[in-house]
């Protein structure tokens, strides 16, 4: 039974008890505990069920590498699945629940999978369930999905109440890892004059050194750690962060850091997580190393732990994993655990050492303490189901058919050697080499990730670099190298302190225990605990022809779980290499990708939620629209009123009312979103002649002209009215959605192609509120305001004037997109609301009403005016729309000219714009295709056109539409058939698209 020791625990504060619940049961821990530590302290060894076989699982590790001890944390809106108990700091009121079992943790019916493992081997889903075909989707998959998987997703209605944020930061040297190597690297880099940031993923400094009995300058490591942290915190050029994990290293020294600001203080008003977006000149990874499990039968039974984790629990949290422990190892390091346990008063049944004759300082010390050591042996199998009850021992070189000893114990500490944490080094292309002595991959210092200048931007030090003994000198050297690489004048950094550890004899690789284990044992040797991948699975994959490590990974799912194979990687590679009969470096590793451990999606979203999820652009009249019944529609990032609904009015009725009122009285339209780009300079006319298909340079000041813009391929891209302001400048109006794009398009040509043309562009879109005053009584209203002459003679159609209307500074354009008498009036945005209010007030008795975008569309469609995005879709040229009149024949060149001359563009069979009139007066469905009798070679219906705009016209009392139809303009009066829902066909006649005031008399009064 795991339990709390009476004394000790360097990270806990026994004076501060904290209550929490696990599966509804109240438990107690101390401040400073991790959740895993306090669960163990409460005797809770069984923590969850495995992914496929639903085997009982307990804590294996003590940090980010933990594969098993995942729980659901919190409840309701704050519930989160798959949280690592080993990295979760305990807080008062914490609520945890175990995962992946049914009906409960102790009695899991789905553990029946465990009885038929032969059906669930590597790639089982590709082969076992292949027949009958239809069964996969309807029978097998639902069953497997129910049985497999870890935590449940939060409820779809759950709304995370916490806050999250991001932060941009910059430093010269970023040190990742706050163990003694990281602390030394930060200190040396700072003393050398660099601006330093130091991140540590846990809640405390110093890493493993205090647990691993390291001495620095003859004192326990803790003393040096405290002193060094204090020094760093007082240096003005150093920033330190606990609970901040280096998540990913990217190009150009861009590093993502994941700071868990308030996970441990959930009631505070601090943001829960903060995502650091760091730019570092140089990065030093001091990320330490992770111990490897040993592969023996039953190595996943609760109570089997990494040897290093076991001593972490004893030293840091005063938690003993059991009363009687067997230590199994292939190296000297695990003896530290035996020694630590013995000194803490925990029974050590034996150390089982795979080596024949361990003579290092640590084994000698263990012998002196009277610990029993079995050499040349291994564990044949672990006994017990939900908890270790004993182990059977066999000779390491045997097949494991019989045991030599049987030991009773309730916990097993295993150590298969160490692997440097090379993830961050590797993210951006740092290469690895195989270290024969330590049997691990370590960073190859000659092949670091390369920066923009072709030299390395990541250094690595300490055990992350494969230095498994003393690390401070190495850390110092790495920091100085980083500072020098930045060209920092290296000030005198003090020589590092000396760290010492007992000498260690070489380890002896043991990839399978015993070495010649038979199949039934191999079926119970876990490589990847979280994804339930065993030695036998990897061997099977190799037999089935999988040679590439990446393919084997995906076939077996080795290393694909939320722990990304931190424990299983090297062991799996070794088994695969052995099965393929090649050395491990020939097999290589899979790719290390960010993030190092999972980070919250909310941190990635940062502040972007609620009202700041996305920018909402508001015109100066937005609030008025809101107050007056606006039924909004999104137009790019703007919101525009689709219509203004009056009390009890349907949307359709509101639109019809607005259309009629505008034709009969006056309508007001907020046209502020229209793009307004000032194009100015001696070459402005020449420039616009290139941008537009028609001639703009001949326009006289004071006049307006409608124009079309095409891309290089000749496809219509934007349209609008250009007003010539003076000799050198034009005001270009673009579509609402096109303003930013056209401005960028102009700058692209000016900066990249015609860089010597003297043209400036200024985007004035938001400088003005633009209000269209439309309808037969529009002039009457403006005359009431007074201040300028808006008569037909003084301000003719397609001209503009600056002046005053009442007290307002205005520029009035006589342009019409509705076919009515129409003035578009630009006022400075700050005056927009007052001007609109004034118009509404003065126009009351004239029947003034605002109208929205739908009425705008109907009014223009009645006139046969095209709309970019309706009549165009990126494949339409102006000629398709009968706009040949707006294409200059005189100009030598303009953007799109040659594109329009391509064979496909001059094909007489192209679909061209026509009006469409249903025989029954109904409204054609939007986008409906015109179909002809017969099928094409693919057996599909033959089409000859499509609807591009379709509305109910209140003016005409029936449906109106425009569409693109094959040779349309040549087929006036013909009836064609449009596809409705299902097999329904709607007959429509081809007509002239201009249905209202074809002569244009109304707009020209």
């Amino acid at each position: 039974m795991s339990h709390r020791l009476a004394t000790g625990g360097r990270l806990i504060d026994r004076a501060q008890e904290q209550k929490f619940t696990f599966n509804g049961k109240t438990m107690r821990g101390f401040k400073g505990d991790t959740l895993a530590a306090s669960l163990l302290a409460n005797g809770q060894v069984l923590l969850g069920r495995s992914f496929k076989y639903h085997r009982p699982r307990g804590v294996v590790a003590s940090g980010a590498e933990e594969p098993n001890a995942l729980v659901g944390l919190g409840r309701g809106d704050s519930y989160e699945p798959n949280q690592r108990t080993t990295t979760t700091e305990l807080f008062d009121g914490l609520v945890a629940e175990s995962q992946n079992h049914w009906p409960n943790l102790n009695f899991d019916l789905l553990a029946l999978n465990n009885l038929v493992p032969q059906f669930l081997t590597a790639g089982f889903y590709y082969k076992t369930f292949i027949q009958p075909r239809a069964f996969w989707k309807h029978v097998y998959e639902p069953i497997i999905r129910r049985s497999a998987g870890l935590g449940k997703a939060p409820a779809t209605t759950a709304k995370d109440p916490d806050r999250y944020e991001q932060i941009y930061a910059f430093c010269d040297v970023l040190v990742i890892g706050g163990g003694i190597a990281g602390l030394q690297a930060a200190l040396s880099a700072a003393q050398a004059g660099a601006k330093v940031m130091l991140w540590e993923q846990t809640a405390y400094w110093g890493g493993r050194a205090p647990v691993d009995m390291v001495e620095i300058d003859g004192e326990p490591a803790d003393v040096w750690i405290r002193r060094t942290v204090e020094t760093l915190e007082n240096m003005p050029n150093v920033q330190t962060r606990l609970r901040c994990m280096g998540a990913g290293v990217h190009d150009h020294g861009y590093v993502l850091g994941y700071e868990r600001v308030a996970d441990h203080i959930p009631t505070s008003d601090a943001p829960r997580h903060r995502l650091w977006r760091m730019r570092a000149g140089q990065i030093v990874t001091a990320t330490g190393a992770i111990e490897r499990p040993l592969s023996f039968a039953g190595n996943d039974v609760p109570g089997v732990m990494l040897a290093s984790a076991m001593r972490d629990y004893v030293v840091n949290f005063a938690v003993a994993p059991g009363k009687e422990v067997v230590v199994v190892t292939n190296n000297d390091d695990a003896y530290r655990t035996a020694i630590t346990l013995r000194k803490a008063g925990v029974g050590v049944a034996a150390v089982v050492d795979a080596r024949q004759d361990p003579q290092g300082a640590l084994p000698m010390h263990a012998r002196e303490l009277g610990i029993r050591i079995l050499t040349g042996k291994g564990i044949r199998k672990v006994k017990g189901g939900k908890r270790v009850t004993g182990v059977e021992i066999c000779r390491i070189d045997s097949k494991g058919t019989a045991y030599t000893d049987k030991l009773d114990c309730d916990a097993v500490a295993m150590s298969g050697g160490w692997s440097p944490v090379v993830h961050l080094w590797s993210h951006c292309g740092g290469k690895l080499i195989w270290d024969e002595d330590g049997s691990f991959f370590r960073p190859d210092p000659d092949r670091p990730p390369l920066g923009a200048n072709g030299s390395g931007f990541v250094q690595t030090c300490g055990s992350a670099a494969g230095q498994m003994g003393a690390v401070l000198a190495d850390a110092h050297a790495s920091a100085i190298k980083a500072a020098e690489a930045l060209g920092t004048t290296v000030a005198a950094a003090a020589a590092p302190a000396t760290d010492t550890m007992p000498d260690a004899a070489p380890m002896e690789p043991v990839w399978m225990m015993p070495r010649n284990a038979e199949y039934d044992l191999r079926m119970k040797m876990w490589l990847d605990f979280q994804n339930d991948v065993k030695v036998a699975d990897v061997q099977l994959a190799a037999r089935e022809g999988y040679q590439s490590v990446e393919h084997t990974k995906r076939y077996t799912t080795l290393g694909m779980a939320t722990d990304q194979g931190k424990l299983s990687n090297i062991n799996g590679l070794a088994i695969l290499s052995d099965a393929l009969g090649q050395p491990i470096p020939a097999t290589g590793t899979t790719t290390f990708r960010p993030p190092y451990t999972p980070i919250s999606l909310a941190a990635i979203a940062g502040e972007a939620r609620g009202t700041v999820f996305q920018p909402l652009r508001r015109t100066p009249l937005h609030d008025w629209h809101t107050e007056n019944g606006a039924d909004w529609e999104p137009v790019g990032q703007w919101r525009r009123p689709y219509t203004y609904r009056q009390a009890g009015e349907s949307r359709h009725d509101a639109v019809n009312r607005e259309v009629k009122n505008t034709r009969q009285n006056i309508g007001l339209l907020d046209a502020s979103t229209l793009g307004k780009i000032l194009v100015s300079g001696p070459d402005a006319g020449r420039f616009l002649d290139m941008l537009y298909t028609n001639m703009m340079s001949t326009l006289k000041p004071g006049k307006c002209r409608y124009g079309l813009m095409c891309n290089e391929n000749g496809f219509l891209m934007d349209d609008g009215v250009v007003a010539r302001i003076d000799e050198q400048s034009f005001l270009v109006h673009t579509t609402s959605g096109g303003a930013d794009h056209i401005h960028a398009w102009m700058e692209d040509w000016l900066q990249c192609e015609w860089w010597d043309w003297k043209v400036h562009t200024v985007n004035l879109t938001e400088q003005f509120a633009q209000i269209a005053v439309v309808g037969p009584k529009a002039r009457t209203l403006l005359e009431r305001l007074g201040g300028m002459d808006v008569s037909r003679e003084a301000l003719p159609f397609m001209e503009w004037r600056d002046g005053k209307l009442g007290a307002f500074d205005v520029r009035v354009f006589r342009i019409s997109f509705s076919g009515e008498l129409s003035f578009e009036i630009a006022v400075p945005a700050s005056q927009g609301r007052a001007f609109w209010d004034k118009l509404m007030e003065e126009g009351k008795d004239l029947g003034i009403m605002p109208y929205g975008t739908e009425a705008l569309h109907i009014l223009r469609a009645e006139k046969g005016f095209i709309m970019i995005g309706d009549e165009t879709d990126g494949t339409v040229i102006p000629q398709d729309l009968g706009l040949n009149w707006a294409i200059s024949k005189k100009k030598e060149d303009f953007l799109g000219k040659r594109g329009m001359e391509r064979e496909a563009m001059i094909d007489p069979m192209r679909w061209k714009l026509v009006g469409l009139e249903t025989l029954d007066g109904s409204v054609l469905p939007h986008g409906a295709l015109a179909v002809r009798a017969g099928k094409n070679t693919n057996g599909q219906a033959i089409t000859e056109g499509r609807v591009t705009s379709t509305y109910y016209s209140a003016t005409l009392g029936r449906g109106i539409a425009m569409g693109l139809v094959e040779r349309g303009p040549e087929r006036m009066g013909e009836e064609i058939s449009f596809a409705g829902e299902g097999d329904k066909r709607i007959t429509a006649r081809i007509i002239d698209p201009v249905l209202y005031d074809k002569e244009g008399e109304k707009q020209n009064v």
Binding site: E607, V612, P620, L764
Partner: protein, 194 residues
């Protein structure tokens, strides 16, 4: 027209670990021209009393300030009702040369971010190393999802300029990132002399 004119979010204010205030109407004139040309230097001097600012700097004058925007662009900050006259003076002085003048006051919204920790608030949304900016500097960047210019307008104050249409977004954004309790303590305050 000051009685008819109103800014984007009149009176908006938020008290966090810094104070966010909508700064009201601010006159702004953009000038694009060859900033090394003598007539341009003179025109700006005559219209504003200011010299052409160096890269990323703002020159302060009595009635107007001139901010560097790009190698061929400056922005003149002035009283809202003075923008038109400054613009027309510049246009007249530079008539016939390759120079573009436009009043852009109303295309913008202006916020002040006041408090010693203004860098910490803005660091959450702007990809800028604020330790490189000191009083009188200006920097064009983005704030989360929209364009912004940040002018270090005081010892413990920054002035942020954005487009008028996104004033609401910007105010909500600045309020969100300056909420009390979320101080990142990234930029240390200058050490007080004790």
């Amino acid at each position: 027209m000051s009685d008819l004119a109103q800014s984007a979010l009149p009176g908006a204010e938020f008290e966090g670990f810094v104070t966010i205030r909508e700064a009201g109407l601010q006159g702004m004139v953009t000038l694009r021209a060859d900033l090394a040309a003598k007539p341009v230097i003179k025109a700006i001097k005559d219209a504003t009393g200011c010299a052409i600012p160096k890269q990323r700097r703002v020159t302060l004058g009595e009635a107007a300030s001139v901010a560097w925007m790009s190698p061929d662009e400056v922005m003149i900050f002035c009283a809202h009702d003075k923008a038109a006259s400054i613009a027309s003076a510049l246009a007249t002085a530079l008539k016939g040369s390759f120079a573009t003048v436009a009043v852009v006051s109303d295309a913008r919204a202006v916020f002040s971010v006041q408090g010693a920790a203004w860098r910490d608030a803005l660091a959450k949304i702007c990809p800028v190393d604020f330790s490189t900016l000191s009083e009188g500097d200006i920097r064009r960047t983005r704030a989360a999802q929209v364009a912004a210019a940040i002018w270090v307008s005081g010892k413990e104050e920054a002035t942020l300029v954005c487009f008028q249409s996104v004033a609401g977004y910007m105010f909500d954004l600045l309020s969100t990132v300056s909420a009390k309790g979320s101080e990142p303590d990234l930029y240390r305050l200058p050490t007080e002399t004790s």
